[in-house]
């Protein structure tokens, strides 16, 4: 059964007003720089053609540096596979709907190119629903939200240092292992004193 979404949103007006916006291939998401995001969102929220008054979901995505292969047609008309170096980046993804006009969905992505010191612009001045969700993104991805009024860790404890949702996160070897039958865990458990029994592995 196809899911009947609300009225789809025409992105033309916002692209007209903000020529620097890009539309992501495949997903149809708007991509913006952190510097511009507040203006864009304000436009989306207040312009009568959009009235996207409901920020549903905020999350982050972490992309490590990869090599992407893409098929391209070269000048001679042959298709060849081109390797493209994708620099590391982070995205903050926002999903907007309109409650008053029953419109949706507009996906907006803040693209952060500096993955080592990711700084994004907070939407909290415009949307209260960004408050906890951006805190969560800060907590799990380590993205610093400029303009957030209360940027603290949300789920992890204050003293925690790493950012667990990053793709290169390595879990610390500091917790108590229970001797489960799994070889991998068992091996780890053996390095911790007093544990490592159990498991019927010979």
């Amino acid at each position: 059964m196809p899911v009947s979404d609300e009225t789809p949103v025409d992105l033309a007006p916002v692209l007209e007003s903000f020529p620097s916006l890009e539309v992501e291939k495949g997903t149809g998401a708007l991509i913006t720089q952190p510097a511009l995001v507040l203006e864009v969102v304000q436009f989306l929220r207040d312009d009568p053609r959009y009235r996207l008054d409901y920020l549903s979901n905020v999350t982050g995505i972490d992309y490590l540096a990869t090599v992407r292969k893409e098929k391209r047609v070269n000048e001679e008309g042959k298709t060849e596979i081109v390797k493209i170096d994708e620099p590391p980046r982070m995205d903050v993804v926002y999903h907007f709907y309109s409650m008053s006009e029953k419109r949706g969905l507009v996906t907006l992505k803040q693209r952060i190119t500096d993955r080592d010191r990711p700084v994004a612009t907070s939407l909290m001045p415009l949307f209260r629903s960004a408050e906890f969700q951006e805190r969560e993104v800060y907590d799990l991805f380590g993205i610093d939200f400029q303009g957030h009024l209360d940027l603290r860790r949300l789920l992890m404890w204050e003293e925690f240092e790493d950012f667990p949702m990053r793709r290169d996160y390595v879990e610390p070897d500091d917790y108590e292992y229970e001797p489960t039958p799994h070889g991998e865990v068992l091996e780890k458990a053996k390095t911790h004193a007093g544990l490592g029994e159990g498991g019927s592995e010979e």
């Binding site: 229970e178 489960t180 039958p181 029994e197 498991g199 592995e201």
Partner: protein, 298 residues
């Protein structure tokens, strides 16, 4: 709202009614659904699931085991509570049977994913729920022998499901058999042609040819029991039959997950190569192997 406090009295009337109704049969049924646990009430329903167990066919626990140690369940288990070590014979060749099959039921969440991904209907859910043990680490780690339960037991706890599974297996077996017959004929012809000279050459053979004999070991364990007649059959017959399964089983596994495909096919290749020396050993060694396995298990 008329009189202040009347709402409270109305509410009190409801509680009084509820209290009084528990003294009547009808009211008790509606308002007191408590089950007096150990004495009365069977809470097991059709799809009740608690922890998984391994099925064996026939009488022999280990020989009748359906599990072929394909490790799909181990890979798919969301809380990763299954641990499998494939059985090897003395020559380091893999036998299609788990040597170690552990389930940590203190980790298991009874989600039934293992049952769904198992291509051999070898693992199913138990409805047994009284598992209080004294030791969390030792006693709640079920090993292979504790997990093995007979197909009859399965029929007793989940009759409909068991029948469906049996039918499914029978259908699979029939399909296998049809294929097998076709191959048997081929194999018989080939075997005659090969004869003694083949034996020496076989050691250096490449995988395509080797794949035929590979079948022997794995087949003998998982397939023979499920085809109850297999045991009655002579070894000579069993051998060609065996050729069938190794080809089929990886194929069945492929359906499950693509990873599985890669790995299981990879695994079977590995087996094939490792089994090459085995070929010459012939059926006599098969028996020995079985015997050893039996000992090892017990």
């Amino acid at each position: 709202m008329d009189l202040l406090g009347s709402g409270i009295f109305k509410g009190m009337a409801v509680t009084l009614k509820n209290f009084a109704m528990t003294y009547f049969d009808r009211g008790r049924k509606e308002r007191l659904p408590t089950v007096q646990y150990p004495e009365a009430g069977d809470t097991v329903t059709l799809f009740t699931r608690n922890f998984p167990f391994l099925i064996y066919d026939g009488e022999e626990e280990v020989d009748g085991m359906r599990c072929v140690a394909c490790q799909i369940c181990e890979r798919e288990c969301p809380p990763a509570c299954i641990y499998i070590v494939k059985e090897k014979d003395e020559n380091g060749k893999f036998v299609k049977r788990p040597k170690v099959f552990d389930i940590d039921v203190s980790v298991c969440m009874g989600c039934q994913i293992c049952v769904e991904v198992c291509p051999f209907d070898a693992i199913v859910m138990d409805s047994e729920f009284e598992y209080s043990k004294e030791d969390r680490f030792g006693d709640l780690l079920f090993n292979r022998d504790e997990l093995l339960k007979s197909n009859d037991y399965y029929h007793k706890i989940h009759p409909e499901e068991a029948q469906a599974r049996d039918a499914n297996l029978a259908a699979k077996k029939a399909a296998d058999e049809a294929k097998k017959k076709a191959r048997e004929e081929k194999a018989a012809a080939a075997a005659a042609a090969k004869a003694a000279a083949e034996k020496e050459a076989s050691e250096k053979k490449d995988s395509p040819e080797a794949s035929e004999p590979v079948a022997e070991e794995p087949k003998a364990e998982p397939a023979a029991p499920s085809e109850n007649h297999a045991k009655a059959e002579s070894e000579a017959k069993e051998k060609p039959a065996a050729e069938e399964t190794p080809v089929e089983e990886p194929a069945a596994a492929t359906d499950e997950t693509e990873d599985a495909k890669e790995e299981s096919s990879g695994g079977s290749e590995g087996k094939e190569t490792s089994e090459e020396p085995e070929e010459t050993a012939g059926s006599g060694e098969d028996d020995e192997k079985k015997a050893e396995e039996g000992e090892g298990v017990s």
